[in-house]
C-alpha cells in the first residue's frame, strides 16, 4: 500500500502545500486510486442520492486549492478520507436544515429524517445479508463499529487473533473488489 506521508514529498520548504498534494495525488498507484474510489463510495452511502464521484471531485478540489491543509505525517488517503467525511457531514447538515425548514413551514411535527433512517436500515440489512454465511466478518464489523459508536452497548463478540485477521482480509477483499458496493441499496 502506498503510504505517502507529507514529509516524504515536501522536499523544499518553499514548495507550496497544494503542489505537494498535487504531486502526491499524481503518484498514486492503481491500487490506491481504487481505494480512493471505495472510500468515496462508502462515504457517499451515508447520504442517499449523493454520487461518489461528485463527492471525490469536491474533496480533491479542497485538497488542491489549499482550503484544507495536509497535516504532517498523515497518509494522503487518510487526509482525503477526512475531507470526504467533513464534506458529507456538511451536506447532511444542510439537507437536515432544509427538511426542518420545509416541515416548519408546513407546520408538520418534526421527527427525525425518516428517509435517512430507512436508508440506513436497508444498508445495514444488506450488509447482514451479504455476509450472512460469514459470521466472523459480521462480528468483526460489529466490533469495529462499536469503537465509533461510543458509550455503553452490547459487548461485541470477540474473535481470536487469527480468525480476526482472516475475517478482516475477507472483508477488505469484498470492499476493494466492489462487491459490497454493488450489493448496497
Amino acid at each position: 500500500m502506498l503510504d505517502l506521508m507529507r514529509s516524504d514529498i515536501a522536499a523544499g520548504a518553499a514548495e507550496s502545500s497544494t503542489e505537494t498534494v498535487a504531486r502526491a495525488l499524481a503518484a498514486l498507484t492503481p491500487s490506491d486510486l481504487v481505494r480512493l474510489k471505495r472510500l468515496a463510495q462508502l462515504r457517499a452511502r451515508l447520504l442517499p442520492g449523493f454520487e461518489w464521484d461528485e463527492l471525490l471531485n469536491e474533496a480533491l478540489l479542497r485538497a488542491l486549492d489549499g482550503s484544507r491543509r495536509w497535516p504532517e505525517g498523515v497518509p494522503l488517503l487518510s487526509f482525503i478520507s477526512g475531507i470526504l467525511r467533513s464534506l458529507l457531514d456538511g451536506r447532511a447538515q444542510q439537507r437536515r436544515r432544509l427538511a426542518e425548514r420545509a416541515l416548519t413551514a408546513s407546520e408538520t411535527s418534526v421527527t427525525a429524517a425518516p428517509d435517512a433512517r430507512l436508508h440506513a436500515r436497508r444498508c445495514l440489512a444488506a450488509i447482514a445479508q451479504f455476509f450472512a454465511s460469514d459470521p466472523d466478518v459480521l462480528a468483526l464489523i460489529a466490533a469495529l463499529a462499536r469503537q465509533y459508536l461510543g458509550g455503553p452497548g452490547h459487548p461485541a463478540p470477540q474473535l481470536s487473533g487469527k480468525r480476526r485477521e482472516a475475517a478482516r482480509k475477507r472483508l477488505a477483499r469484498a470492499i476493494l473488489r466492489g462487491q459490497l458496493d454493488e450489493f448496497l441499496p
Binding site: 497544494t18 498535487a22 492503481p30 462508502l42 451515508l46 471531485n57 444498508c123 458509550g151
Partner: protein, 105 residues
C-alpha cells in the same frame, strides 16, 4: 450473538459501520488483481482536478484573456524573392542575426 443491527439509532449505527469499513479499506494491504479500468477512471478524475488547479494558479499575465487579440505588426521590409530552386535565400544585410533564447544554454 450480538447483531450489529441492534440498538442505538439506526443512522448512528450506519455511520459507525461506514467508519469501520473505511478503516478496513485504509489498512488493507496493497493487493494485485484490481480492475485497471476502475483505477484509470479515478486517475482521470484526479488528473483533471490537478490540471484545473495548475491552470488556475498561473500568473494572470500568462493567460490569454478572452477578447484580447495578439497584436500583429506588418513587416516593414518586403520578403526577398527566391533566387533559384537550389540556392538558399540570402539574408538581408540590414537584418541582424536573431539571438538564441535566454534559456537556450
Amino acid at each position: 450473538m450480538t447483531d450489529f443491527r441492534d440498538r442505538p439509532d439506526t443512522t448512528d449505527r450506519w455511520r459507525a459501520t461506514i467508519e469501520a469499513l473505511e478503516a478496513v479499506v485504509l489498512a488493507a494491504p496493497d493487493k494485485p488483481g484490481i480492475d485497471p479500468a476502475e483505477a484509470e477512471e479515478v486517475r482521470r478524475l484526479v488528473m483533471v482536478q490537478i490540471a484545473t488547479r495548475r491552470r488556475n494558479s498561473l500568473p494572470s499575465a500568462w493567460v490569454r484573456r478572452p477578447g484580447i487579440l495578439p497584436q500583429i505588426v506588418p513587416d516593414a521590409e518586403p520578403a526577398p524573392k527566391a533566387t533559384g530552386p537550389d540556392e538558399p535565400t540570402p539574408r538581408s544585410p540590414d537584418r541582424p542575426v536573431p539571438l538564441p533564447p535566454a534559456w537556450h544554454d
